[in-house]
């Protein structure tokens, strides 16, 4: 059974990539001139002063999309072992289990479609 140690190249790549990003930033920090004007550090908003910060309750329409995604992503993981051990020819129950599983998955999308999640109407106040 391969222990985590076997994957140490991946960790080395992680460290190297970390270094590969931090190094140019350190160089840039050293060799770049610096200025500071009255409004240099203000947030940029097309030249005008912004009205209030950007950390607000952002009414995300995509919350429902996230729910459907979670339902999907976890279930798709079941298909991986099925895919690896899918034998050619022979017993057909594997195909039927695949069929049933995908049919159940598709129900989620059809339900959301019916509920009108996917149509973004114009919000007339």
């Amino acid at each position: 059974m391969k222990t985590l140690i076997e994957f140490y190249p991946v960790f080395i790549f992680l460290l190297v990539s970390f270094g590969f990003t931090v190094a140019p930033m350190v160089i840039a920090f050293l060799i770049a001139p610096r200025t500071s004007g009255a409004k240099t550090l203000n947030t940029y908003e097309c030249g005008a002063d912004p009205f209030g910060g950007a950390w607000i309750r952002y009414a995300s329409v995509y919350y429902i999309y996230a729910l459907i995604f979670i339902a999907f992503d976890v279930d798709v993981l079941y298909l991986f072992p099925l895919a690896v051990s899918y034998t050619r020819g022979g017993n057909a129950y594997e195909f039927y289990s695949l069929l049933v599983f995908i049919a159940l998955l598709a129900l989620a999308v059809i339900y959301a479609w019916g509920k009108g999640v996917f149509t973004w109407k114009r919000k007339i106040l």
Binding site: I31, P33, G37, G47
Partner: protein, 170 residues
């Protein structure tokens, strides 16, 4: 507006020696990313300079960045009104440090055709607001004029000129 309303002091980098500065200036001169900031008629001439026929991109200056954070060169192309002045200064200050200003057109240089006694809304010249490096006269200046302004700016940054100046016949 009186004297320039602020003094933007530029602190030197931590590591600074002649050879590095020369290489950096050469690189900066060959990749001046202008800020997408068109005011009036000169903006249309700036656009046609960036288009197929005159093509600023040949000199590496073709990528128009829309945020001042990633721009090096602010081309003030058009009339700066008193309502626009504070915003222009904000945009200039929000640009990171090695930055240059190219005043394009008579309005940006001296208020142009809109200067008469009793005028109440035009800033007479953008150098009252921000330090200007190159002035390109004309109303609007031809795209070749703007390209020549770019060459002048590159000459100012690196000290050497890309193309030989056409010899003066008279």
């Amino acid at each position: 507006m009186g004297k320039r309303s602020f003094y933007l002091e530029t602190k030197d980098p931590i590591i600074k020696f002649a050879m590095l500065e020369k290489v950096l200036d050469l690189a900066r001169a060959n990749s001046l990313w202008p800020l997408q900031f068109g005011l009036a008629c000169c903006a249309i001439e700036m656009m046609s300079t960036a288009m197929a026929r005159f093509d600023m991109d040949r000199f590496g200056a073709g990528i128009f960045r829309s945020t001042p954070r990633q721009a090096d060169l602010m081309i003030v192309s058009g009339t700066v009104t008193k309502k626009m002045a504070p915003l222009l200064v904000t945009l200039y200050e929000q640009m990171p440090s090695p930055k240059w200003v190219l005043a394009m057109g008579n309005c940006a240089i001296s208020g142009g055709p809109f200067v008469y006694e009793g005028q109440y809304n035009v800033v007479e010249g953008v150098d009252l607001l921000v330090p200007v490096d190159v002035y390109v006269p004309g109303c609007p200046p031809r795209p070749e004029g703007l390209l020549e302004g770019l060459m002048k700016l590159e000459e100012k940054i690196t000290g050497t000129r890309r193309f030989p100046t056409p010899e003066k016949r008279w």
